[in-house]
Every structure is written in structure tokens, then in C-alpha cells.
Amino acid sequence: MQVSETSMGVDNRKMAMWIFLGSEFLFFGAFISTYLLYFDRTNGGPGVEIFDIPFTSVSSFVLLMSSLTMVLAHHAHTQGDMRRMRMWTLATALQGMVFIGGQVYEFSKFNLEGLGLTTSPFSSSFFVLTGFHGAHVTIGILMLLALWWLSHTGKVREDQPLKTEIIGLYWHFVDIIWVIIFTVVYLIPAG
């Protein structure tokens, strides 16, 4: 349908993405709550003192800045500037990859220091929460790369900024969840 003919005057796909994002709060909220219940149940293993706040701050900053490049990618698309759109889209994906790389490093280090998936309720809830977030970021990276590729092949055209916008909404949401996780999982318990 043409957007002008829809009951609420918006594109179905954008509405669907927002509805989906509304549900994701319940998803991450449950994992965060599990973590809040268990963050001090360390079963004799390491606790929150194992966190490397400076390191995680840097990777959090990277993810946060990737939201900037994402929104610049969308803006470029609305201007029909596909070259810049592709550049910013790729930049966003790359920052996402840096974030994931940071997590992989961080988790490996924790493993070596005695904090594994199965060590304690604390460790299980930490790794599963951040792991699912990381999985969401990874899916976002794949979508960004697909967007980048398809704008090359012409499947994503310059008069279709909505496609970039919708992927952007997902990306910003994943960033927001990390904003919450960084504070609630890392900063508050470690402080």
C-alpha cells in the first residue's frame, strides 16, 4: 500500500520494527533481572572484581559512536548520497566488529582467570546476558553488511532510505541495551 493510504500514515515495515523492539525490552529485562538476582552468587569463583572497567568503557564508547555513524548513514541515504551512505554503513559495521572483538577478548580473559559459563550463577547470568546481546550485535552487523552489499547491486536504491532507517532502529536499540547493561552489569555492581 502507499503510505498515504494506510490507517496511521506510516510504512508497515517501520511500524513492525517498533512493535518488535517494544517486545525486546521484556527479553533483555528478564536476563538483566536474572543477573541482578545472581551477581553476588559466585560459588567460590570470581565476582564482579574481575571486570576491567577501563577496557569495557572503551568498547562501550565504540558502540555508542557507531550509533552516530548509523544515523549519518541514514541521513546520507535521505539525501540520495549513496556513496556516503555506504561509507557510514560500513563504518558502523566495523565499529560493531570492534565491539564484538573486544567482547571475545574480554570473555577469553575471564575464562583464563577462572570465570567460565558454568562457574556460578553469576557467571552463567553474565555470559548469557552479554552473549545474547553480542548475538544481537552480530545479527546487526550482518544486516549492515547486507545493506551495504545490496546498495551496490541496486536492490537498495537511493529512493529507499526507509530500509537504512529500519536497520538503524534495530542498531540503535542494541546500542541502548548496551547502555543499560554497561551501567547495570558493570558500573553499579563494581562500584
Partner: protein, 102 residues
């Protein structure tokens, strides 16, 4: 394809960069709680900072401030439902024997 949203105040790239810088400053303030001892003030400070970052990303980067209110309502419903329900769940573990919690 494009929304029939109110685009009169469509943010410019300049505004986006300003917001990003603000987010950076807010993050630095958050991290400072790790080095500076705010005592009992750390928790509310962190929550406030986190909420401001959330609102900035949601309102501007996700364009909620300029889009139909339906989107904000859906997301607010999810958010407040989550906070409310999980807060209640967690309070059942608070240890005020006989009165609240187990």
C-alpha cells in the same frame, strides 16, 4: 516508502554529532564513578546518566521525538512493563523477614 512524519525539525548531521559528543561526555561521567567515590550518590547518578543517554539515542537517533506518538507509546509500554514486572519479581527476594521477601 518515506514516512509522512513531521520533518520540520529534521535533525542535521551537525546536531547528530553534537549529540554524539554529549553521549561521550555522559559516558566519561559514568566511568568516573569507577575512579571517584560518590558513596551512596553513585547509584542514582548512574541511573540518571543512563536514562539521559537512553533518551538521547531514542529521541534523536531513533527519531522518536519527531515521529508518530504510537511508536513512543509502544516502546514506553514495553519498557515500563519490563521495569515494573521485574522490579516486583526482584523485591520478592529482599530480606525483610516476615514483612517482605522470603
Amino acid at each position: 516508502m518515506s514516512d509522512t512524519t513531521t520533518h520540520e525539525h529534521h535533525p542535521t548531521p551537525r546536531l547528530y554529532v553534537e549529540i554524539a559528543l554529549t553521549l561521550g561526555v555522559l559516558t566519561a561521567m559514568e566511568v568516573s564513578t569507577f575512579v571517584i567515590d560518590f558513596a551512596w550518590g553513585a547509584l542514582p547518578l548512574l541511573i540518571v546518566l543512563m536514562s539521559i543517554k537512553f533518551a538521547l539515542v531514542g529521541g534523536f537517533f531513533m527519531h522518536l521525538k519527531f515521529d508518530i506518538r504510537f511508536y513512543t507509546r509502544i516502546v514506553a509500554t514495553g519498557l515500563f512493563l519490563a521495569i515494573g514486572l521485574y522490579a516486583i519479581v526482584l523485591t520478592t527476594w529482599l530480606g525483610v523477614p516476615g514483612f517482605f521477601g522470603n
